[in-house]
């Protein structure tokens, strides 16, 4: 990493995120774009370093750009494997706990797992954005899920 060469640092990072096909061509194209943009900004009076940073900001963050070009959210395979293993461990633990819990309800294992009983997906009469919500799902649940999905995208 080199703080005095933000464009090259940005391109190095992007190159690691991009899928293999057309990667070199895209990096060359974006390098030309960023250098051109920074040159224009310097002509307008910005210092070289600031011009590079602003050029990068205008192009967009590397993760988003990589996704535009087909990168998977888990561009680093080891990170994906860790996430998958963690998710699997959580599911197994939850299933075990639910099956062994002495205070089940009338809906058997599904109920113990917190799954909705039969008919739960019928419309509740509540709508969000014109879409009827299943029974048992509140607008607050929808908003919470939307925010979690948004945060997952940002964290990714």
């Amino acid at each position: 990493m080199s703080d005095d060469r933000p464009i090259e640092h940005y391109l190095d990072r992007l190159e690691r995120l991009l899928p293999g096909r057309d990667r070199e061509e895209l990096i060359a194209e974006l390098r030309d774009h960023l250098l051109e943009s920074a040159a224009r900004l310097r002509e307008q009076g910005l210092a070289a370093h600031d011009a590079e940073l602003l050029a990068i900001a205008r192009l967009g963050d590397a993760e988003t750009l990589a996704r535009f070009h087909g990168a998977r959210p888990w561009a680093r395979p080891w990170l994906g494997r860790v996430a998958a293993a963690t998710a699997a461990a959580i599911v197994v633990t939850a299933l075990g706990a639910a099956a062994l819990h002495p205070l089940g309800n009338d809906h058997g294992l599904a109920g113990r797992l917190g799954l909705q009983p039969h008919g739960a997906n019928e419309p509740s009469g509540v709508e969000v954005g014109g879409v009827p919500l299943p029974r048992g799902v509140s607008p607050a649940d929808v908003e919470a899920r939307r925010l979690r999905a948004r945060m997952a995208v940002l964290d990714g």
Partner: protein, 99 residues
Amino acid sequence: MEALLLACLEREPAHGYRIIELLRERSDGVFTLAEGTIYPALRRLEAGALVASAWQDAGGRRRRVYRLTPAGTAALRQRQAEWRAFSGAVDQVLLTGAT
């Protein structure tokens, strides 16, 4: 987005940064895009054979320049016609009775 990119390339070939400048200039500053968004769009246009690209030397660095293909010109004409029909219809509804 794709139609706007085709229109920017109608008069002359241009590279990505120049296309963004053209969009900004011709729209009087209304279209100030997140600049990275045009490259996937250009890829889609090239995959559809509506634009073609070639690499040129620009002061010692490689520059990818896009030009409209005949199919791209035809597509642009069609989208211009569709837009005229659409915007004309909106005008008729929206502005009917206005002063």
